[in-house]
Symmetry: C2
Subunit: 381 residues, 2 copies
Amino acid sequence: MGVREILRKWGVTDFQVIDKKALSEITLGASILATGGGGDPEIGLLWAYNVVDQGKEILLIDPEAMPDEALAAIAGCLGAALVLTEKPPNGQELFWCYDSLRRYMGKSIEAVVPPEAGGVNTPVPMAVAGAVGIPVIDADGMGRAFPELQMTSFYIHGVSPSPTAAADEKGHVTICDASDALLTERIIRNAAMAYGGISWIAGYPMTGRQLKDTAILRSISMAWDLGKRVFNARRKHLDPIAEAINLTGGYRAFQGKIVDIDREFGAEKTKGFSLGRITVEGTDDFKGRTVVVDFQNEWLNLEIDGEVRCMPPDLICILDPATGEPIRTDIVRYGYRGTVLLIPAHERMRTERGIATFGPRYFGYDRDYIPVERLMESTSG
Amino acid sequence: MGVREILRKWGVTDFQVIDKKALSEITLGASILATGGGGDPEIGLLWAYNVVDQGKEILLIDPEAMPDEALAAIAGCLGAALVLTEKPPNGQELFWCYDSLRRYMGKSIEAVVPPEAGGVNTPVPMAVAGAVGIPVIDADGMGRAFPELQMTSFYIHGVSPSPTAAADEKGHVTICDASDALLTERIIRNAAMAYGGISWIAGYPMTGRQLKDTAILRSISMAWDLGKRVFNARRKHLDPIAEAINLTGGYRAFQGKIVDIDREFGAEKTKGFSLGRITVEGTDDFKGRTVVVDFQNEWLNLEIDGEVRCMPPDLICILDPATGEPIRTDIVRYGYRGTVLLIPAHERMRTERGIATFGPRYFGYDRDYIPVERLMESTSG
């Protein structure tokens, strides 16, 4: 059964065809929202372009169009984005994951939902949808990127990541089926490390009903819109950051030059993450001021002149002021110039269980979560 | 389908019923051959007795009786035996493993083969066979115990451990399906550590033909015979060690008192193994001489007065001289008295690939493998 048959079976007539232009726009928007993580968009795009070139259709549908009882699953990669650049996928990994899940569960997965907004984990699920012949749902599990498997709106609203299947480029497959989400994360991450630092995964099997109740809805459309605006700003020499702020309701919090990067090394210490901290010296309106940003795959916590101004799960996006291109934690270098954009996390990410799962204390900060809106108000006040 | 139906289908009329007495004899023999590893026989026996008490039949058949195309798999536990004593199984773990394998492979497993000779991994597969209603094959994968998943005659003769399923007592399941056996070992061991140090596993799915070509054949009968002889020696106040030597063709290499135990601690260092070294001071005929034995779950390497006298995969068994009861690496204490029995490994374990997989160099000793027969000849010479 192909994607058109599935949509016919579901009675869905309203969908969007994702062509290469759409892919590039969506991926740019998603990589901005990925808060410094999410990996190299070149890799995700290459994969997705290849699927389109093979004549496969990538069809995006609204979450409400998915039947309550149909089954969706995430598809994407897990591990250190830095490794991904050196260990490109062969394109079969996620087929192996889907096939393993299908065999293990004895049920077919009829839709793909991206796990997060990211340069890899947004276009790649689209590529998988096209290649497998199933639709991709206009939603994701974070509205941003996060480093660990359980850090999703799915999980905090009651959907288990299990069973999750993880494959590498040699066809090695690991399936974890555990009621304990942190255990699943640990076993799947161990597999990623055993595979050489990165793993391709499919998991979080969920019904359409569960997806509608737990996902960040229509976030692909939002990334698409963001990507279009930034491309447009580039063409017309407008300020891409202003476009991003208009759309997302974020704050232009800082502008400066990266003067220090303190990166952790060694698998024992980093557990397969890109870990560290950067220091940014203010320029323009921010001259004389200093920003420090910690990262674990994503930008996590931001301080301006020693005062916390953004905590997880709120979004810290550091963008090239001229192009709006995101600066990622895996490739950040001394001397890069960036504008810091802070965006409130989606309300579905800000529940009590959300803050416990990916708030400041989970990441080792001894402080309660305060929304970025309040932290930024106190700045101007 | 029950075990009798399977045997009828296969045309097998010759089998042995394993009752509680047989279980205790087989388990004693197997725990002697386990070379200090293999875990607490009380746990394995308790599980198997329970299955017999429920009226289930445990039927042992000769490997030649198994059809070439039928499917067998191992069942047992993987991890540090020390943990097993504190984290007893609930009896369901291996059903979950078998069921996961069946679903993943889309094929039923019709026979159980014990992975090794051990206090746990010999009686437990028998319990599983009884509970699932399939026969147990008179064979195993080592003729001794070894710490890692790939260290089997199956593997060195071309059978892959994958897919292997690993479960804990809470029903968490991990399946690894990798062509690379060392990767499978790593991922399954990581799962065991994530589960709290121990995991129950089913794996090495193989046909009857593969089993006949690769297993240590009739090793359960041999363990049974050994157990009977030692029980008999105890009853009749005979020397149990002499009985073991008569049957196995081993060497009485040393007798002494354990005067030092140097045990490694911490998961980072031990990777879930019982690791360390003991020193034994000679008594009786061996007065004034000293033995040092290294262990990694099992006794691995033995030196008498600084000269190597036994290397893996040959068997180092340290037995209580009065009862023939094995002294295990996980419970060895200062002051224990032991007789050291050295037994040549089965020829199927001594191939070039066998020595590469579990010979001295694999365990970090910078020396070529020399069979215990030659090492012991040079002692007397």
